[in-house]
Symmetry: C2
Subunit: 249 residues, 2 copies
DNA sequence: GTCAACAGTTGAACGTGTTCAAGAAGGGCT
DNA sequence: AGCCCTTCTTGAACACGTTCAACTGTTGAC
């Protein structure tokens, strides 16, 4: 009961649950949703506190208290404190997609598309910069499910690569066909590099990251254009062969 | 007194301290070294336990107990558990230098020099792979003193870059003069990338990392050679300009 | 010799993430 | 109704990294 009332009182701004049309004790709502509701309540509370106080400063006890549940309850739904971040992960991934939509719909030039997507990614993440830097260490641990290369992150990763596939395929750029296949993943990898840079970027408003993007995009554009040059054919082949070698276990 | 007897009773296998020729109260040894001795004892014990049990599995209490001191004493010499890793850092840096010496002394070819240095780096770190993966997360946090980009790591970083400067300057390769200045740092950055890959590498004996090196070296060699090509001049300029932009705050 | 200053050392205590045995709350049977 | 089974919830308890006020031994000045 406590849970229900608290959940109703909580102004969760993104209700992924069915419309909570609750009268009093009217038990018409699907009972199965109870668990999911608590899960969401805990997640929302956690992310809010992370944003407000930072990751390390937010204790599991504080999350539980604020959500009106016992601390053990949070561990019933999330394996660890770090696992709470996966929610943040997924949500921002989606936001990146949405924010990229306009430029992907209206722009045909490869460089412009890429630039738009990269800046959109930073835009979306900007509010979380300080907290992202703290939680980033979790993502860096190879065994962590939060690692961008981990199996658990696979869906989010694929979704991210899909954005860059869109960048390539919707563009008017003429790309070497062999490179074209690999390009989305390479661009995603570059994006990871940009994020890495961004996390470390202490300049006001992360201006250096913006400049990095503005510098890297025409460079990538030029390299992609150059990819069809005859002199560079062997080098390109070498790169593609290396990628292939690395990929197969 | 407790400390002295306990320390003496402890079979520290790596005594970097002067010969402990203690009769009774024979106070001939430099009193100042007392602190340094304890510090070293704690560090050695910690690194040994890290190697034996792994980083997270080794508790500060275990380190203190094994070293025969109180847990608070470890914190007198090291600000945190993470700071103990800095010792590991410095030591392996030196080992990398030493392991690179032969190839740097005998080889003139750029690719061979680079390849030798990279493989030497992996050789040196290989025994610590499992533990490095765990402690890597500490290094990933931007605010951490362990970050390779942090101020505290500056000496180790400079030393590492110096190795790659040696790679470039001692080689017979003809390099674009503008690129030559930046190349050591770029190579170090690539090395960081290789290390990142290595940390994530779960293949037996980290064979994929070895293959990555073998693939990346001829590629870098070719690119460096290409750097003097006229067609690529603007692209190179663009890269150098970008680096310059990024570097100044 | 006395005393003050100081580096070195101690272990109890704090707050943290996490675990776990115990219990509550229904839902589906007879 | 009574009963069992699953899902959910609880909060005390654990081990950990870290802090801190108190203590010890040594040095140097008078």
């Amino acid at each position: 009961m406590t849970c229900v009332t608290t959940a109703a009182a909580d102004p969760a701004d993104e209700p992924a649950a069915p419309p909570p049309a609750e009268g009093e004790g009217a038990g018409e709502k699907p009972r199965r949703a109870r668990g999911e509701q608590t899960r969401l309540l805990i997640l929302e509370t956690a992310l809010r506190l992370f944003r407000e106080r930072g990751y390390t400063e937010t204790t599991m006890r504080a999350i539980a208290k604020e959500a009106g549940v016992a601390v053990g309850n949070a561990y019933y739904y999330f394996d660890s404190k770090e696992h709470l971040i996966q929610g943040f992960y997924d949500r921002n991934q989606l936001a990146h997609r949405v924010a990229s939509e306009p430029v992907l719909a209206n722009e045909k030039d490869f460089a412009a598309r890429l630039r738009g997507v990269l800046h959109a990614g930073i835009d979306v993440n900007e509010p979380y910069h300080s907290f992202a830097a703290t939680f980033f260490k979790s993502a860096a641990e190879p065994s962590s499910p939060l690692s961008p290369f981990s199996r658990e992150s696979s869906p989010a990763r694929e979704a991210a690569i899909a954005i860059f596939r869109d960048v390539v395929e919707g563009s008017s750029a003429k790309v070497d066909p062999e490179l074209r296949k690999e390009l989305p993943e390479l661009l995603w990898l570059s994006w990871m590099g940009v994020v890495l840079f961004w996390v470390y970027d202490r300049s006001p408003d992360q201006r250096r990251t913006r400049r990095l993007i503005d510098g890297i995009v025409p460079l990538a554009d030029r390299l992609v254009g150059l990819s069809r040059l005859r002199v560079l054919r062997p080098a390109l082949r070498q790169v593609l062969a290396l990628i292939d070698t690395i990929r197969r276990d």
